[in-house]
Symmetry: D4
Subunit: 247 residues, 8 copies
């Protein structure tokens, strides 16, 4: 945003813009107003990043309209938390759109992203954590990253985790996805020296309180180098991992 | 209620009412007893306010009966949290009734309200907050207020909010609706000098705990001039905003 | 902030400011940087409002330094949550400073505030709620408002509340302070037609969970026209009440 | 249980029972073992009380079997939390069974209960609290009590409550049912000098947290003479009220 | 309150009171306004009940002033949650005042209360629950009740509880005080047929969460006839028990 | 795992394994990688234990694939939290599989387990706790234990529990399953001198908060010898009980 | 308790006891009533177990009196949660008493306990967990068990834990003590095949919420064979471990 | 750890180590066992990182002993959460040790760390957040990073934050420290494209619940690129930031 700001100020200084016009520009330029949503085409231009739509709480009509505007401008598309029903509707108007079913993500790559430098590793503690991990996977992939997935390596069977030690050790950033007691990030952080992004999942029952147990465990990790995102937030973990991988 | 009280006491003093009758009046006058509900026609008379029915937890039959009594007396009608099914039933006996679908509100203006002096501005952080904002909108409108809506101006994209700065600055009261981290009211309160009514929404997932995160954030706002209503309580925010706007 | 912004933009347009200088101004003008705090002299100029210091979590040295800067500029001073110890230190360098002991507030009026139009009424449910009410009182007073206090009118003895009905009915805004079950705002809101700002207090024990019970009760008020601020936040309630009273 | 115990010991002393037989009696006498449930016919004999079945979490088959055993023994029957579906099945084998639909209670009086001495009054704050109040009503009635119901007298409209003051003042025990901010018991307790049993309901939304707000408010009542039962526990309130009314 | 209301209305009707005077009376008569507190001498007159002061959150000065007014009027005195320091101050001006140290209660009987009909039994699960039980004891005693105490009969040693069975069975009302898992009321309620008032205490550590565990357990009691008061609220339990015992 | 480790190290020492091969073995040997799950055949070999699949959060396809691998290897099979729909699918490919409907458990014994030395006793407080108890039952049975079940012996009717005293006293380990106030384990632990594994259930409503009340009560048991597993975790209790029974 | 019961019944049968005397015996025999506490000498006789006093919430006078009675009867003594101040007082009257300072436990062995069969292993995740572990240690020791302690083997440094693998593998029962994310029991349970008793500690800050994070993590352990006791409950874990070790 | 493992295995293969010795090495090599703590000198060797001691919950004696061992080996030293009292003791034996008083951190640089590539920026919302920020500062500095601090730029005064925009935009990683509503990270993340590590602080009162409000807000940030550490965990944020800065 900084260069825009400077640019506008310079044009005001140069007499090419009146203050009123400047205010107008600040208002209209960086996003497109669909009344119910303000679409931000700005990010796309800067980085080759896709425009991302968070599907939950939006009607299919709203999603379709935003998606249409993005595709029209030639941008890549990623819709998270999209029901199969929504995907089927999108498919009709945007035939190239793909669907990652466990992740509930619709995506379409229209232009190549700048690739990150290293590899992002996605681990899950169990099989039930896979949907969240897949949301992270599709997001990392769309944002231009090499990704590797190693699933079902929870701490109850250390040999499974240690058996993948060599792979894990090659990552530049690790996304560790776990529900229940959420111990995976702590153990992994003790084995490697790279940033760990911990994703608690709502996998579990009873005193897991829909992921609260895993969330608290991860926030209290005794290992250094762990930060936490919201419960089931595979997207957020991937976005941050990608930022780090592109530094 | 005060004038009523004084009036009744005066009539007792004047010998026009026995104490027993006075007690009777205090019991029967200001509301109509439908057995399962005590309808308060009093407020309507005083202010041109509509009679408001909170739909949740009432059967369709109860809602229809209360609504019928109100309409019979010539009052305006507002039913919040009414399912489309309920609306369809009402439509049959009260053909003029309208429905704001996102707000799930049934309404019918039968007499003109006293208009408030200024403008109420309704902001939302995201698209998913719109249903709550629309409940606030229809309520403000029915209670006699000029209202303006600016949606999807959450703090993740400050330029969208600052782009609407001029509009926002003209409001007499602001209703700021936000889920997730609920930061919108804090930021807006730093930009203006009018009361902000903050409405946390249940938009979000995981550690949003159905709006708790936004609620706590808003209660802890470091900005002065912010007060909070219940999660998703668009109606309550509007009612208070209208009171302020009518002072 | 708007006029400042416009003003700076106009000076840039007029060639009186370079963009770089404009950025510098935006950075330096409206506050004074004490390294550990950025003192905002701006608000004072605009409204005759005192500069307010929130004392909790600041060292006495920090408070004294900020207070000194404010007094030097001729501003009025209000320090909330200040320990008696802190007051004694301030007294030495700012001899005119007063102390409201229950409120733990230090204050000094150096210039007259613009007075609000109506009267703010402060109610408490019990005697133990008085410290929070007094914080509200001293804040309202410093911000230029006529204030009346009616204490110990909790709902367990309705006759005490109804006995003050005439007084209460004359307020333009009401601040209702209550701990324990926090029912006072609901009952008052049913008696009047002005905005109620509800302040839950941490008065109580056991299942009051330090004010949580009162907070939740107030958020769930079945009466219209109630908004809530943080537990024990007498200051916040007063600030909002004053904003409404100055509209 | 005491007299049983003494009786058995006396019979052992008199040589009419061996210790082994005594143990056997203690095991088998006071209940009937249906394998999945141990039906307690004991209480019925003692007081003319109906056998009460808590329907939630039991299969229809289990409920039918227990109900059959009770009816066979000539006892009165009360099933709480029974779905309409369950009632329809019961109706086929126990044609005299009635259904209180809002309360979801199946009942059948086979013998007359001992009547309590005074009147139990059931109040609700709103219309949505009626189902819980009706569960209390049907239970009080089945346990042999005169009951009066006054609904929709919440504290937001004090005149509605005060209008019923005379009725309320005649009760020996009061059951006050309220959701949302749960203030009704506190206000009522300030008006009368009889025990108040407060029933929080899950009526409300957002920060009511399914009745938690009302529950906490009631536990923190500043009025003396209030005790609280579980959220939505109309049955429990009625059972206790009946015990008090039969003292 | 009713007779007062009627009386005032009758006097207005008889022309002995103007409406204004009536309002004045409603305001001034039933309590004495000490500015920071409104002392209610009304209850005392009606029942021989002592005036009760809740000490927590009041300054020693406030307590002394209220206590002085009560003693001056010849009323009995009960101050709960009073520190030894406060008692020592009271002792100087009211030499007859006694102190129940575990209960932290100051008391002085100036006139005899009307005695309740039956006996109130106070049980504790453990030794650490005694302070709460003693608050209940001194309150029951001051309110005019025969009381018996049986301490340390928690469910971990059923023989201790059953060993006191005969005593327990003679009570008209039972106050069951327990911390930790709070199971005592459930077990006792299964043994007797009288109302049980359950008092959770903050005794315990860790997952007792200062009495929350016991509170929840008691609210979920599977036994009929149990109602609950706030954590550590010995006073509230005693007040309710006394109301029941005086029916 | 220890003997494996030593074995591998010895083979490395003996030159029969290169370090690289050793790492490979550590990785591949003890589990079979199905990509989405890593099946651990290791435990089966060691103890005659069945391979256990936790059904929740796995797709039917995943469950079928894992189950197939286990059966192929001749192992016994236990699938917990399996829907009837899943069972019907399994039945087609593994015709010998049985279904415990209340427990929602699929099982098939292919080889005989080593039997534990004593008897495991499973108690429930009520009828609604039976599904959790049955999960414990089928697990104990599959892991090679003699098991006895005594249901519906909650503390509200002590005579039912004491009536089973002789049976209970013969157990080597007791699993006590209870919802609501969760008092059963405390009372049982006071009667016997063997380990009690307490299983809170989500049975209850309102302030049971889906088993939280029972969980907290059990964690705060004043009786020695009680440990707790997750809410509704019949499997976990059985697994631990079996470990103890096989010591 | 069973044999006592039978014995008393037999004596009643033999005419050696009247039913009244039998009731008296049941009341008086198995414990000694100190008014504020009922001391249970019964357990001691049966097993050589010491009498255990839980110090928290008892006055020094109460502790001294109970301890005196135990010593007088020749029993061994264990007082948990005893302040150094209390120990110093005890030391004066019971000179042989020892003090485990980190555990805050006073103890004195007067007779030899029956030794358990295997070894109990106590592990801690960190140094700060040692006080809880020492409470477990002194309890295990007093109850007659061989104990080994391995401290500071948290999961952040797996090599420290694996380095103690041989030791750990020799235990019959393991007590795993951990605060913060509480992952230790899960990891240990994956390495061994013996019961793990998990003790969450209040070690940590912020989102550890005084041990809640560790507690929830342990309850949600994905490893089989783990049961949990209350936060910081070293005593409870040791008591259960000893029961298992004595089976 | 991998190379160590491989190295040990190779030496076993080469016959230079027996399996027993290998196990011994795995146990003893990478840490030094002080009985109450296992000091890990390993990390230091690899990276020039200081040995870090978490002071809370350790006795001064324990801290001094660990610190002594580290200094003896020539390592740099960082002790977090150390009281002034502890520092004074350390100062006597390690005279070069420094103290960051707000951060409560003792530190001593004995060898130069490898410097990270970019700059870490530390922001605070208010003055009261400074202690947590300083803990982050001293940690970043000790781990070899260029750090810049900008304090008191909370969202209530956006101009203060925007005034520092240029500085902020130059960071490679940002640590955003905020209490109360915790909105700072969300707003900052909308302005830049680098990873944000959000640190909630316990600054606030009432419904901030000791940092819970800020924690939840940050976890629910609607801006991409934000991850969260524990409340007040300045150290953890710095450690992660340093890992990212050294990638």
């Amino acid at each position: 945003m900084k260069s825009q700001l400077e640019d506008i100020l310079r044009r005001v200084q140069a007499g090419k813009l009146s203050p009123k016009e400047a205010l107008y520009l600040l208002k209209d330029y960086p996003y497109q107003d669909l009344n119910f949503a303000k679409v931000d085409h700005h990010r796309e231009l800067r980085r080759g990043f896709p425009e991302i739509i968070y599907g939950l709480g939006k009607t299919d009509e709203q999603i379709l309209k935003i998606a249409g505007e993005i595709i029209k401008k030639g941008g890549s598309l990623l819709i998270t938390r999209a029901e199969p029903r929504t995907y089927r509707k999108i498919k009709k108007t945007i035939p190239g759109a793909c669907y990652n079913a466990p992740a509930k993500a619709v995506y379409l790559k229209q232009k190549h992203s700048v690739m990150g430098k290293g590899k992002i590793m996605i681990l899950t503690a169990g099989t039930s954590d896979i949907p969240v991990a897949e949301e992270a996977y599709v997001t990392c992939d769309m944002l231009g990253n090499e990704v590797e997935r190693v699933y079902d390596v929870g701490v109850a069977g250390l040999h499974r985790l240690l058996g993948e030690y060599e792979k894990i050790n090659k990552a530049k950033v690790i996304i560790a996805v776990a529900g229940m007691e959420g111990a995976l990030p702590s153990v992994v952080a003790g084995l490697v020296s790279v940033p760990i992004i911990a994703v608690p999942t709502s996998v579990g029952y009873g005193a897991s309180f829909k992921g609260l147990a895993a969330l608290l465990a991860m926030l209290n990790s005794c290992s250094g180098g762990v930060a936490v995102v919201n419960i089931d937030n595979g997207f957020g973990a991937a976005y941050l991992a990608s930022l780090i991988n592109h530094l």
